[in-house]
């Protein structure tokens, strides 16, 4: 052991001058840089090749008239596709539905997730059991869960509906069933992130607060929440962006009928049903911009406690 401390003591002075920068790098430092770049190269190349180039290509396609039914009419038409999409009622309905589902389900997930996190953190019996079963909704294939809800609410087979009502054929009941399916599936993930935050709350602090006469609610809002804030923000950001991309549940539950389409559904339909690459790409770009705006707002509002800031930088 003493040997190892000697070694670290001997090596630590070395990086210090190198970090100061402009002075010529030592051979070891340069080797480290080269190794680092070689190690990240494959991952970086794959990630950029599969996302960077396609998104640029997508922007290009969005400026073209490009319908695979009429491939010879392919033509550069500037922003006309954007005009067509942005003046289209279906697009804005889908946008509204997506926003509504995102906001409502994330709020419910936050509340339920917090409850679930407290249960998993505090329960005196069956802690392992509770943690194990809550991972099932997280892990289960979304389409499978969606089919379970579909059969449960389906008029023919469902244990949740009578024979007269058909909730999946009208707009609002469908939307709430979609939200239910979404909440069921993703609350455990939220709860796990929040539980990691709960583990950071020092017990002493809670004890001290209750000595000072704080009741359970005060201990929660005044002690736990402030300490957990970074964890809450990470969970909210990830879930909001994820909910905005909602596709699987809607596809299975309603296939987007009765005005229950999300923006992802609309894009998919225009692309693979309509085979209209120009319009599909325009929607893809608009979704990309929306997500970027959401992420930007989160990070601006909540500052540097955003994810990846551990040493990832101040973005």
């Amino acid at each position: 052991m003493s040997e190892s401390t000697q070694v670290t003591a001997a090596t630590t002075p070395e990086p210090a001058p190198a970090k100061k920068g402009k002075v010529p790098l030592s051979e070891g430092k340069r080797a480290e840089r080269r190794l680092g770049l070689w190690l990240i190269a494959p991952a970086a190349i794959v990630m950029i090749a599969v996302t960077g180039y396609p998104i640029l290509y997508s922007i290009w396609l969005s400026l073209e008239r490009y319908d695979l039914h009429f491939p010879d009419q392919q033509k550069f038409i500037g922003l006309a596709n954007y005009g067509a999409v942005l003046s289209n009622g279906y697009w804005w309905t889908a946008y509204g539905v997506t926003m509504f589902i995102t906001i409502v389900s994330v709020i419910i997930e936050l509340v339920l997730g917090m409850v679930l996190a407290l249960i998993m953190h505090r329960t005196l019996v069956g802690r392992g059991l509770v943690r194990t079963v809550t991972l099932i909704p997280y892990g289960i294939v979304t389409v499978v869960a969606a089919f379970s809800w579909y059969f449960a609410w389906n008029t023919d087979s469902g244990y949740l509906v009578g024979s007269e009502s058909a909730p999946l054929t009208s707009t609002w009941p469908s939307i709430f069933i979609i939200i239910l399916a979404e909440v069921w599936k993703t609350t455990p993930f939220m709860a796990l992130l929040l539980m990691a935050g709960l583990a950071l709350v020092p017990e002493d602090l809670l004890k001290a607060a209750s000595m000072d006469g704080a009741n359970a609610w005060q201990r929660f809002t005044k002690v736990m929440v402030p300490v957990m804030k970074p964890a809450i923000l990470v969970a909210l950001l990830f879930r909001t962006l994820d909910a905005f991309r909602i596709f699987d549940n809607i596809y299975v539950l309603t296939t987007g009928q009765n005005d229950t389409s999300s923006v992802s559904m609309q894009t998919y339909n225009n692309l693979l049903k309509g085979l209209n690459l120009g319009i599909g790409s325009t929607m893809a770009v608009l979704i990309f911009i929306s997500v970027a705006i959401i992420a930007f707002i989160f990070i601006k509002v909540f500052g540097t406690s955003a994810p990846g800031s551990d040493d990832g930088g101040k973005r």
Binding site: L35, V46, G128, T142, Y159, L193, L237, A284
Partner: protein, 299 residues
């Protein structure tokens, strides 16, 4: 884990006298209360799963009886799906594509995460930033361009056509989780082993690999679950049984005969692809929780 429990009991014991609410729950009463809450949580998590399981065992006549449990049990749905090429090839595709994607993503992710956690080099922040961007990227935005690109270069409806986007979206997850694990490894041990005369290869094999293995394994599980669950790419970038995975194939099921509602067979297929998830969860619960939370919460 045991520390946690000690803390909780420690914390709750002195509390009752301090508060004068009168109702002092006995240890046993408290346990009963928690047991009831636990049962609620278990029911929450399991009811949809049990429902699809129940449907998969119902007979064709019983499918529409609206009862939560089958009145008559049958294996017919399972026998039926394994007779259809549709399901069997989808299952092979699912397993193959998810495994290959997982292996590649974990290997590339391990290399990158090691560099991020251990080495000092320019471009590190850029890599972390790019991974974060991709983790938040709306996947549907990639579907349109990838659809056209893959059609043009012949990757549409092939295994690599799905494996590539899966690797891409799994990499951020792998890099985050693994670099969080790698930061925890006491790397001085490697130097100590070398001082004691181990060769670099021995130091890696005997000291570092055993310490890193749990993290790599956990990451592999998370990545596999991600690939196994994907629906959007699977349904957009495939068109035949040659590469369609089970989640996508489910929505094309027509039932054993053309005139039968496919509900029973869909349920049976759904149960089959849920089994690996249940096994992972049962055996590796602690690791999955650690893996999910390590990357995300660093303050």
């Amino acid at each position: 884990m045991s520390v946690d429990i000690d803390q909780v009991t420690d914390n709750t014991k002195p509390a009752p006298p301090a508060r004068t609410t009168g109702r002092v729950p006995s240890g046993a009463g408290k346990k009963v209360k928690w047991a009831l809450i636990d049962i609620l949580v278990v029911a929450y998590a399991l009811i949809p799963v049990l429902w699809i399981l129940s449907l998969s065992f119902k007979t064709a006549d019983g499918l529409n009886d609206k009862s939560f449990f089958p009145k008559e049990w049958t294996w017919k749905n399972y026998q039926d799906i394994f007779k259809t090429n549709e399901f069997v090839s989808a299952l092979v595709n699912s397993i193959g594509i998810a495994l290959i994607s997982t292996i590649i993503a974990v290997v590339l992710g391990t290399m990158a995460a090691y560099a991020v956690a251990r080495l000092d080099f320019p471009g590190k922040k850029a890599l972390v930033g790019v991974s974060l961007l991709i983790a938040m990227f709306p996947q549907v935005s990639l579907v349109s361009p990838l659809f056209n690109i893959e059609r043009n270069i012949g990757l549409f409806d092939t295994w690599p056509g799905l494996i590539l986007p899966y690797i891409t979206f799994a990499l951020p997850l792998a890099i985050y989780t693994l670099s969080a694990f790698f930061r925890e490894i006491p790397w001085e041990l490697e130097k100590a082993a070398k001082m004691d005369g181990a060769t670099p290869a021995q130091a890696f094999r005997k000291v570092i690999a055993p310490l890193a293995a749990p993290g790599v394994f956990t990451t592999a599980i998370l990545v596999f679950i991600f690939c196994w669950n994907d629906f959007l790419f699977a349904i957009s970038l495939t068109s035949t049984t040659s590469s369609r995975t089970v989640p996508a194939a489910l929505s094309f099921f027509t039932g054993a005969s053309q005139f039968e509602a496919p509900n029973g067979t869909i349920s049976a297929a759904a149960v089959i692809i849920t089994i690996p998830i249940i096994l992972f969860v049962l055996f590796f619960q602690r690791r999955i929780v650690a893996g999910l939370t390590s990357g995300a919460v660093k303050g």
